[in-house]
Structure formats: structure tokens, C-alpha cells
Symmetry: C2
Subunit: 144 residues, 2 copies
DNA sequence: TCTATTTCGGACAATTTTGTCCTTTATTGT
DNA sequence: ACAATAAAGGACAAAATTGTCCGAAATAGA
């Protein structure tokens, strides 16, 4: 479904958002520890999120990553996924055709339309605020 | 979503099923030409399908691949996907956790359950016969 | 200013996926 | 038996993804 990079990206963003809601900035090491990901690789993913203005980074002592408290509700999952994996998972053809559509449908086109739209809907309506609340309420988890 | 190998596998299986419904056996070269895939790589994918008893192969002159006319309605898309990519796309966690469930849900678990079930439902109910009919009726296509 | 901390960024390495080439094996027709 | 055809299978190559390492740049505090 999602690439490893994207999985880490989503987990990291959710964790950063959760801590940011509580007014706390988190470091790369904290993040990697919390989401159980390779530190250096996670750093690369975080760079992508930073360049895409999804998270803000601060260098130096007591630096780290954060997400503006008031912006978490405006950052949708689709933005994170698009920044790392592109939007083909929720916009593209199931069989990889570039120009699959109602007029030139692939064998799965009609069967897949509903699923893709539902996935798209989910990604485009779910915000980091939603997800971070669940984490802070202890009803969802970033580790197994 | 699906790997390239799986995309080729689905396309190839649909094409073989379509031709088999018309009593025709098809060669590797015909298949690769029809679905626009690299010949040698497609051969590997077809081997996987053959080993999994999804298609039958016949060597020698006038040989090729076929799918028993009466079995096409019993072969579900899920079987093909599972043979090539495994079942994690329609059974696994969106964030890659091995033990994500109602008791230990990842941040996306509840939002993803519906989508995954719908995908699973689609893959487990769609047969090669269904898909091959559309091809033979000229309402869906294997090439762009 | 100096040091410690932390992200940034480039280069590199390992692994997986994708793709190629060539030999072997089976089968058919002559 | 022989030649031609087509899949099977092994070895290898290229590309993409995942992951590591290390020095540079920025920043805060002493």
C-alpha cells in the first residue's frame, strides 16, 4: 500500500502533531524511538515533510520538529502521502495505466472506482489533529 | 498498490482467460505483446501463476498458456494477488504493523477497516470469468 | 567566542524489485 | 531420429527503495 518511507512519515507526523498539541517539540531521536524506525532514514523522511511545509524544524540545542498547534487540523493525510509517495495510490489506475478512464477502462476500472474514492475521501478528510487526539487519548498506538 | 509483477500477472491472467473462453491457447510472446510487458519478466510471472495452478502451461510447438474454460469462474482476483504480492494489501495494516487490531489499533486502523474490507470483498468476489467477458465484449481494455 | 546540540545534506551501501540473457527440457511434426 | 517450437529455470544486470555514515550549518547557552 504505502512505501516504508510513507509509513514512517505518517507515524512521525502523527507523533509530532500529538506532542505539539501539548506544546512540546520533539527531536529526531525521540521520534525514531517512538515510532520504531531507523534514525537516519527517518531523518530523510522528515526532511521531505519539512520541505513540504508539513512540519517545521528548528536546529540547535532544544531544537527538533513541531507542527503549529493551529495548523494540525488543516494538514490532511493526503498531503503527507502525496509528499512522499505521490498521489497515484488514491488517484491512479489499479493496473498502472496512465490514461485509464470511463472511455478506456482497464479490466478493474469499474470495480476499483468505489474503493479508490473511499480511500481518497478518507485521506483527504482525515487531519493530523484527528489522529493526534487519538494518540493523546491513548486509544491508538504508534508502536506494537 | 500492486507491484509491477502483480499488474502484469493480473493482465496476463485476464488475457489468457479471455482467449481460453474462445478455445484458444496463447503464447508468452502473444501475451507480452497484448499487455505491453517485458517478455522475459512476464515469463517469470507466468511461472508463478502456473506453479499456483492459476494457469496451465503446455510446452512445445503450438504450446502456450490456457485456463480451463470451466475454472475461470472459480479463480478469484484475490488468488492471483496473493500468489504474487501476498495478501497484506487486503488483509494487512495500513501502517505495516503485524499485530494491529481492535485492541491495539494503529492511528489509521478504524478509518482503514472499511476500505480494506471493500478491497478484500472486491478481490475475493471478482472472478477471471467476469473480467474476461468484459475483454471479449470489448468494454474493457488491456492496453492504452 | 567556544562548545554542545540538533537538523541538513551528500555520499555511499544493502536489499528488493524489475528486467535480461541463455541453456535446458518437453513436445510436436516430419 | 531430427528439427523446430515454446515453456522452465538459472544466472546475471539495472534500477529503485531502504538504510547508514559523516561532515556541514545553525543555534543556544556558558
Amino acid at each position: 500500500m504505502f512505501s516504508k518511507a510513507c509509513e514512517y512519515g505518517i507515524k512521525a507526523a502523527v507523533f509530532i502533531a500529538a506532542r505539539s498539541q501539548e506544546g512540546k517539540r520533539v527531536s529526531l531521536n525521540e521520534i525514531a524511538g517512538e515510532i520504531n524506525s531507523p534514525v537516519a532514514f527517518t531523518a530523510k523522511v522528515l526532511q521531505q515533510l519539512t520541505r513540504n511545509n508539513i512540519v517545521d524544524s528548528v536546529r540547535g540545542p532544544a531544537g527538533g520538529f513541531e507542527i503549529n498547534k493551529n495548523k494540525a487540523d488543516k494538514i490532511r493525510l493526503s498531503k503527507i502521502v502525496a509528499a512522499i509517495d505521490g498521489d497515484s495510490i488514491y488517484k491512479g489506475c489499479a493496473l498502472g495505466f496512465q490514461n485509464c478512464n470511463e472511455n478506456l477502462p482497464c479490466p478493474l476500472h469499474h470495480k476499483f472506482v468505489l474503493i479508490r474514492n473511499e480511500l481518497r475521501q478518507m485521506l483527504e478528510t482525515t487531519s493530523l489533529l484527528d489522529l493526534s487526539k487519538d494518540i493523546n487519548d491513548g486509544v491508538t498506538f504508534l508502536k506494537s
